[in-house]
């Protein structure tokens, strides 16, 4: 790669990173909200490197513009010392640029949630929830609902009306569909699906964002021996009966 192609690739990459993090919120489809400052800094550094390179090449119109073709393809022997040359693998950085600009990858949806057999039980959160009270409808995160549903001693969900927000994943079974939220800890590559089965409502199409108002359905087999942890595969996601399902636009923060 000549210095000009290097600068061009870096300018595009920096520009795209700043576009998804500074000008729009589409970075939320890929990483956590707290990651924004790092993306801004990285995008700015990459863009600055690219632009200074472009300006440098532009100001020096004749020398160098041609030099790029002279030693292109000398392979490994050119790597590592002559820093005005870069190996051809650098062209691959165009791929994320094209993917972001042309495919505009959305937040993970029903396709990922279906192939993803994440744990029905969220790790190590039970016991830290505030007690619920009153007759009012309580808005709740899907993860919290699952955590409370798994808390067999407290059973804090009994008799409460809750509202969950998530996207629709349809089920093979006729009587249910899932209101789903992806939970990620760093980036979308590590996202796991949190699902709650919705009973008693007609299924909207896959990937529709909905607010489901309803009540928890306690599992049918109530005889859980003391001290044993029920196995995921025997129980599956917790269930709720819906009294109301409202379609909503996708929230700006699609992950939990």
């Amino acid at each position: 790669m000549s210095r000009m192609s290097q600068s061009l690739v870096l300018t595009l990459l920096g520009g795209v990173v700043l576009w998804i993090s500074a000008l729009t919120t589409s970075y939320l489809n890929y990483v956590k909200p707290g990651f924004r400052p790092f993306l801004l800094a990285a995008g700015a550094v990459v863009l600055a490197l690219g632009i200074t390179g472009l300006v440098q090449e532009w100001r020096r119109p004749y020398a160098g513009a041609h030099a790029g073709h002279v030693r292109e393809g000398t392979g490994e022997h050119a790597e590592g010392h002559d820093h005005s040359r870069a190996p051809k693998v650098g062209w691959l950085l165009c791929l994320p640029v094209f993917a972001i600009a042309l495919i505009a990858p959305p937040a993970l949806g029903a396709f990922a949630a279906r192939t993803e057999d994440g744990p029905a039980r969220p790790p190590a959160t039970a016991g830290s929830y505030v007690p619920l009270s009153g007759e009012k409808i309580i808005p709740m995160a899907v993860g919290e609902f699952i955590g409370r549903a798994w808390d067999f001693r407290e059973r804090t969900l009994t008799g409460r009306k809750v509202r969950l927000t998530g996207f629709v994943v349809r089920s093979k079974r006729k009587d249910r569909w899932y209101v789903t939220r992806m939970q990620m800890s760093c980036c979308a590559a590590d996202a796991i699906a949190l699902k709650v089965a919705v009973l008693g409502a007609a299924p909207p199409p896959d990937d529709t964002w909905v607010e489901v108002t309803g009540a928890w359905v306690p599992p049918r087999s109530r005889e859980i021996p003391n001290g044993t942890v029920p196995h995921e595969t025997t129980t599956g996601p917790p269930e709720m009966t819906a009294v109301q399902v409202t379609e909503i636009p996708q929230p700006s923060e699609p992950y939990e």
């Binding site: 990285a42 010392h81 590590d190």
Partner: protein, 337 residues
């Protein structure tokens, strides 16, 4: 080794095109405008047509891996270029013990101070080598720093509340593997297997050279990061995780499977503890194997190492680290967890 360097540097200096002028007009602004215009047109025309859910899921995971790794890569490249440009080689000979066998554990323990993930450690380690640090010591640093730095230790403790031994076991096992791998490389490794990237700052402005070095390293490492990202995203979408839970109960196999999962997923070391914690069906020892292998061996890291230090290095070093990490984490998991 010394022959090769001599040949390479003589091929480099003096660049034959110096002083020549070509008649080509400056194409930069036009080329740039053309590419930008194509991207905008493509966005308007092409994007609505791409609706295949598998492709879009793949693209999301791929972009997420790249976007998430980029800040760490930029940080690592900055640090590496700064080490090469502004820290004199004499500093390292003073800071590290002269005996290479003693330098390995010191460098491994020094990994505590670099708060980053594995993408940052490869360029930094290559910068250290180019400044005359013993390769084995730089490799110990490369392996330990993504796993033992404070950010990762705290993240592990948060992900496993009530199990403080998990963070401790991870710290101990990672450090042990890093030092053992460094010593083994020192004892059995050959210099010809490892391509030490040389850094020369011939005349001219130091800052211009600094910028050139950064641009070069960013494109080089970034390109290999993309290779790793493509592979990881593909396997992430294709391999169903239901396969995993079926082996969760088998003692030895479960640790091997989680170690392979860590290689495939290529999760950043600052986040992998949360993923490990979510694999509730597996034993603590298997989770420890996941946490120790992940920061040392994964697809994007293999691509980065092969690109930076050469393929001959990667085919030897990657299996060595993987086996060491698996054995050590099983042993430590058996004792501590």
């Amino acid at each position: 080794m010394s022959e090769r360097v001599a040949v390479e540097s003589s091929a480099e200096i003096p660049p034959p095109e110096w002083g020549r002028r070509s008649a080509a007009p400056p194409a930069t602004p036009w080329l740039f405008a053309l590419v930008a215009a194509l991207l905008v047109v493509g966005r308007l025309v092409l994007t609505p047509l791409i609706t295949a859910p598998a492709l879009r899921t793949w693209a999301t995971v791929f972009v997420a891996i790249c976007v998430q790794a980029l800040p760490f890569l930029v940080f690592g490249v900055l640090l590496s270029a700064a080490i090469a440009a502004f820290v004199p080689p004499s500093f390292w000979t003073k800071a590290l013990p002269r005996n290479p066998y003693a330098a390995v554990p010191v460098a491994g323990a020094a990994g505590v101070v670099l708060p980053g993930c594995e993408c940052a450690s490869v360029p930094v380690a290559s910068g250290l080598m180019s400044r005359g640090v013993t390769p084995a010591a730089a490799l110990a640093f490369l392996l330990s720093s993504p796993a033992v730095n404070p950010v990762v230790v705290v993240a592990t403790a948060v992900a496993f509340p009530g199990q403080p031994m998990m963070a401790a076991a991870r710290f101990a096992a990672s450090l042990l593997v890093a030092v053992a791998a460094g010593w083994l490389w020192l004892r059995f490794g050959r210099a010809s297997w490892l391509r030490v990237p040389s850094r020369t700052f011939p005349g001219g402005s130091k800052w211009a050279e600094f910028r050139d070095a950064m641009r070069h390293d960013l494109l080089h490492a970034g390109g290999f990061l993309v290779v790793g990202g493509i592979t990881a995203a593909t396997l992430n979408v294709i391999v169903p995780r239901a396969w995993l839970t079926s082996v969760a109960g088998v003692p030895v196999l479960s640790a091997v499977v989680l170690a392979l999962l860590a290689v495939v997923l290529s999760i950043c070391s600052e986040a992998d503890a949360f993923v490990a914690a979510s694999l509730t069906a597996f034993s603590p020892t298997a989770k420890l194997a996941f946490l120790v292998v992940g920061p040392m061996v994964d697809l994007k890291l293999i691509a980065l190492q092969a690109g930076t230090f050469g393929r001959a290095f990667a085919v030897r070093f990657v299996p060595l680290t993987f086996l060491l990490a698996l054995v050590v984490s099983s042993a430590i998991g058996g004792v501590l967890l």
